[in-house]
């Protein structure tokens, strides 16, 4: 696999470490009433997507960027690669 890093260009997948579903970016608040339940859902419940999937990869043998990659889990086609920091900022903008 080749991952088109937004800062470094195309890099071999062996330089990266995979973490999983990008929903890990949405960490719940700790001080809400049902925070324990929210954290349980956040940590353990995942969609098992056949198709487009947003997921987190870390450029371990590179610039240490966390990336959000939009990948088709059936064809492995990669449609978008974003810095997690940028993705998160846009996400928050969207939520506001």
């Amino acid at each position: 696999m080749i991952i088109d890093h937004p800062l470094l260009g195309p890099r071999d997948a062996s330089e990266f470490i995979y973490l999983g579903d990008a929903s890990l970016l949405n960490r719940p608040n700790w001080d809400e009433e049902n925070s324990e339940d929210n954290f349980y859902k956040y940590l353990y419940l995942r969609e098992n997507v056949a198709g487009m999937h947003k997921e987190l990869w870390f450029h371990q043998q590179g610039d240490r960027s966390w990336l959000v990659i939009s990948r088709n889990t059936i064809t492995h086609e990669i449609f978008k690669v974003e810095l997690a920091t940028e993705f998160k900022k846009n996400m928050e903008k969207f939520n506001d």
Binding site: L24, R27, T85
Partner: protein, 980 residues
């Protein structure tokens, strides 16, 4: 009999004789031969026994699609099984032998299987070896393993090496036949970076098998001339002897190159290419009829290649059997070489007349082959049902041609049926735009079509790459069209008709699978093993599908096809491993004091990638325990030092650094003053302990965190995750400084004396001004930058001193020098471990991924007044039961009884059952301080059981013992020494 001459061919050097040995007998061949062509020229027809029924088998093809002629190549130091005689280039002194036969190829004992074939058809193993179940392991499997299987490993180490390499290009062209060469030429002229890969040891593909004219030249001369043009282009790299074994995601290809000479035997290339063109040609398929597996029966096109490329001309009395025009090229070439061609049996009613000299048996089929070890003759039947017997030594068959599209489906794209050529072509719904097929591999079966198709595909690729082609010219070939009628298998006759020669799959097996409801392609494949093995059904797959289609009254495209998987040709695991073997499997990291320690007599131990000094043996110490006990005693009584540079060090800076540290540790850091260090416990989000360490606040916004050695990378990755993915708004910068700073622990009651001798005069390290858990940036030895931390892992008065890595060895020598008076010693990881167990500090063995803060008796450290990773879920019920595991100390009732890590804990009177299990031992050692073995472990309700006698069981070693539960802190329980 050795033939005096061969037909002249530019690809065989008859002036260069090569002798070789096959099954113990010596033969001669020529430079340019494969093992197969040399054997054929020597009239050796019987090459191997088949996989299941041990039927006699000969050479069937002339390439990597060979199902039959698998041999063992004997090298000086090892044997290479499953080598295809059809692809092994002959060399002087080659030694090969048949596999899968005993005691000899001619009298194979296991051919008795053939007599029982009625009973051991498809699914036989599944149905028969069912019960009693224990029979499988003891009886069935060993017998089957001995009888079946392809070749044997010699289990000797190959002294030659495998290497790995990486290549990058704009266009990868797979195959150097007519289409491949034209594509490489046009693409090369345009200036893009091209790699042309050829599986064979000569370029030219099927052009090497032909004698027609291309631009008034022989095909071989044309190949030579265009290659010369291509090689002038510095942007084109041509590699022969290299098979592309797989297409992977995003234009990554694997290829295996075999080298003839030198110490490197093979190179596994990872090729990254923007575009790829599959010019892999097409492969001929067989026609199943009764006994169609006899030696002497070969593919028609392969006979042509042995004749034209290798000059093999001893095909006496040859007959051809076909449903298509290509076979007539073989017929014409045989006649022009004066070979006795009996005729062509053609299934078609009105085949085109190529030459009146060729006798054509129209509307006829070969229905049976006669002979025991070799072909002796065939029976043919015409439209009227008249049976004729014809004597012949060789039979060339052709059931048509399949585009060689193996690679095109590696990324999951299914091939599509082409009704014009009765074959599958590469699927057009190719989500990956990286690969296109051209020429024969794209279903173009006339040469001019191939030329035009190659041109078309390359121009499209250049246009995709936004490159303008340069001027080029294309060769001219006298046109010949290709016609075929579908004919899949002979229905006449009740004896076995072979579909997959390698796996001994017959028409009957497919019928049986169908009858037993294994009717989808994938089921058929698994039930009958059709298309498995080293050839992956290259000559048989489509024929097998056609038979299934005819049984189910469906069309072939409705039956569907299986997708091919990598590798295209078998490759050894060694090829994939390359040089990453033994010590080269992982990098070795050396500590900054490694050379100093080595010179001082240290022995080393592996911790992760690191080599660390485990102890320093002195004269008169003939057991490691003597060294370790001495080192522990020296530290506890005076002073010692230890290189702890392997601990992860993370430099954290920024306006929000304090808040960040406070969020990643579960205990409070908000009030940590500048110049102080604090122990930190890091949880995973699920509430389990991830790591522990210390963090020092060097200045307002500058922190230095340490991690355990093994978790240095994962903790750093986790912190980057926390920063980038959870709190990107925080002003924090992280960098790993593990390699930049050496860290030396200096421990023992005399350690302050040593430190005082080292630090520059302006710095006060008295207990008052530099108390326990203090930290400071200072200079030592007259100006060397250093960071001093008053922290202790051993439980003694102790410091850790950080200095730039390059000073570490000098520092070690300097410590020995200034510590003479105090009898300073270096100590290794073993003494370090003993002292931390004595002090009850958790380490890797305790932080095993299932342990919570509460289990470590640190439950109260988890602050619920702030947000931190893992805090919320650490409070869940299941992790907070009052009788859960707690860290305890254990002392054997007899001091000299060793406690073994991994042993489990039970109440004295309880039986050893999983239900009664109360916990386990994590770390154990001999404590020279307590003069007893001691251990740390987790025990249910452990805090309330100090003083209890408990049973220790190790069922694996068959050992049982008793120990007393105690406080895990064995020495200096109140921490007075630390603060002294």
């Amino acid at each position: 009999m050795i033939r005096p001459t061969r037909t002249k061919s530019s690809l065989i050097n008859t002036n260069k004789k090569l002798s070789f040995v096959f099954n113990g007998k010596k033969y001669e061949g020529f430079q340019g031969d494969t093992l197969a062509s040399a054997l054929l020229a020597n009239d050796v027809k019987l090459i191997a026994r088949s996989f299941k029924y041990h039927r006699p088998r000969g050479i069937f093809t002339s390439g990597s699609h060979e199902p039959n002629a698998l041999v063992e190549i004997i090298h000086d130091d090892y044997n290479e099984p499953n080598s295809k005689a059809t692809t092994v280039e002959l060399y002087e002194g080659l030694v090969a032998k048949s596999q899968n036969c005993w005691p000899s190829l001619k009298y194979d004992f296991m051919s008795i299987n053939d007599k029982f074939s009625k009973f051991i058809g498809a699914g036989f193993y599944y149905k028969t070896f069912m019960w009693p179940s224990f029979f499988w392991e003891k009886v069935y499997e060993p017998v089957i393993r001995k009888a079946a299987g392809l070749g044997k490993l010699s289990k000797n180490k190959n002294n030659k090496n495998s290497e790995k390499g990486f290549l990058y290009c704009d266009l990868l062209i797979i195959g150097s036949g007519l289409s491949g060469l034209i594509s490489a030429y046009i693409a090369g002229l345009s200036g893009i970076k091209v790699i042309l890969v050829e599986e064979d040891y000569v370029f030219g593909g099927s052009l090497n098998n032909e004698v027609f004219k291309i631009s008034n030249m022989s095909p071989q001369a044309w190949v030579h001339s265009i290659l010369k043009e291509i090689r002038k282009l510095s942007n084109v790299r041509c590699i022969e002897n290299t098979s592309v074994i797989g297409m992977f995601d995003h234009g990554v290809f694997g290829a295996i190159q075999k080298l003839k000479e030198g110490k490197i035997e093979q190179i596994f290339w990872k090729i990254m290419s923007k575009k790829a063109l599959l010019c892999s040609g097409s492969l001929e398929r067989l026609i199943p009829f009764q006994n169609n597996d006899l030696p002497g029966i070969m593919l028609s096109g392969s006979i042509r290649s042995y004749l034209n490329r290798w000059g093999v001309n001893n095909f006496d009395k040859i007959l051809l059997f076909t449903n298509n025009d290509d076979t007539y090229l073989t017929a014409l070439d045989l006649i022009s070489n004066g070979i006795n061609l009996i005729g062509v049996v053609d299934t078609r009613d009105n085949p085109r007349i190529f030459d009146p000299k060729i006798k054509v048996f129209k509307s006829s089929q070969v229905v049976n082959a006669r002979g025991k070890l070799y072909l002796k003759g065939v029976d043919i039947v015409n439209k009227e049902g008249e049976l004729t017997h014809l004597k012949c030594d060789y039979l060339g068959i052709s059931g048509g041609w399949n585009p060689n599209i193996h690679l095109s489906s590696h990324t999951g794209v299914r091939p599509e049926w082409n009704e014009k050529i009765y074959a599958f072509v590469a699927g057009k719904k190719n989500v990956s735009t990286h690969l296109k097929a051209a020429g024969s591999a794209n279903g173009k079966f006339s040469l001019n079509e191939c030329i035009l198709d190659a041109e078309k595909q390359v121009l499209e690729i250049l246009s995709d790459l936004k490159i303008k082609p340069k001027k080029y010219s294309l060769p001219k070939i006298k046109e010949q069209s290709f016609e075929i009628d579908p004919f899949w298998f002979v229905k006449i006759g009740s004896q076995r008709k072979w579909v997959d020669l390698q796996n001994d799959v017959t028409v009957k097996d497919i019928e049986m699978a169908y009858a037993e409801n294994f009717r989808t392609v994938e089921h058929l494949k698994r039930y009958t093993t059709l298309g498995m093995g080293t050839d992956q059904g290259k000559t048989s797959n489509v024929t097998g599908l056609a038979i299934l289609a005819s049984l189910s009254n469906k069309s072939i495209p409705d039956v569907g096809t299986t997708v091919f998987r990598p590798p295209y040709v078998p490759l050894s695991i060694e090829a994939l491993v390359g040089s990453s073997i033994g010590k080269n499997f992982k990098p070795t990291r050396l500590t900054p004091t490694h050379n100093w320690a080595r010179d001082y007599g240290a022995s080393f131990t592996e911790t992760g990638l690191w080599l660390r000094a485990e102890w320093y043996s002195q004269k008169n110490e003939n057991h490691w325990r003597m060294s370790v006990d001495r080192e522990v005693n020296s530290v506890r009584n005076s002073v010692g030092f230890c290189d702890v540079s392997t601990l992860g060090k993370i430099d954290i800076q920024g306006k929000d650094a304090l808040e960040f540290v406070n969020k990643v540790y579960c205990n409070g850091f908000a009030k940590l003053p500048v110049g102080k260090v604090r122990y930190g416990l890091m949880l995973r989000e699920d509430g389990i302990v991830m790591d522990d360490g210390t963090t020092a606040r060097m200045s307002e916004n500058h922190f230095i965190m340490t991690t355990t050695t093994v978790n240095a990378e994962s903790v750093y990755r986790h912190l980057e995750f926390c920063h980038q993915c959870l709190w990107p708004e925080m002003d924090v910068h992280l960098i790993s400084t593990t390699d930049a700073w050496a860290q030396i622990a200096i421990a023992g009651p005399n350690s302050r004396k040593i430190i005082s001798k080292m630090v520059d005069k302006q710095f006060d390290v008295s207990n008052k001004n530099f108390p326990f858990m203090a930290c400071k940036e200072l200079t030592i030895c007259g100006g060397v930058l250093a960071r001093l931390f008053r922290i202790s892992f051993s439980g003694e008065l102790a410091y850790e001193l950080s200095i730039p890595t390059q000073y570490a060895s000098s520092l070690a020598s300097h410590l020995m020098e200034i510590g003479k008076e105090e009898n300073i010693i270096p100590y290794g990881t073993e003494a370090l471990g003993v002292m931390r167990i004595e002090k009850g500090h958790a380490a890797g063995a305790e932080l095993n991924g299932t342990i919570s803060a509460l289990n470590l008796n640190m439950g109260k450290m988890v602050s619920n007044k702030k947000d931190s990773i893992g805090m919320v879920l650490s409070k869940r019920e299941g992790l907070n039961t009052s009788d859960g595991l707690r860290l305890v100390g254990l002392k054997p009732l007899k001091a000299n009884n060793q406690l073994i890590s991994g042993s489990h804990l039970f109440n004295s009177s309880d039986k050893i059952t999983p239900k009664n299990d109360l916990g386990y031992i994590t770390s154990s050692c001999y404590s020279p301080t307590l003069k007893s073995y001691i251990a740390l472990g987790f025990l249910k309700n452990g805090c309330n059981r100090h003083g209890d006698k408990i049973k220790i069981s190790n069922p694996i070693l068959g050992k049982e013992d008793f120990a007393e539960v105690c406080n895990p802190i064995f020495v200096d329980t109140n921490g007075e020494k630390l603060r002294a």
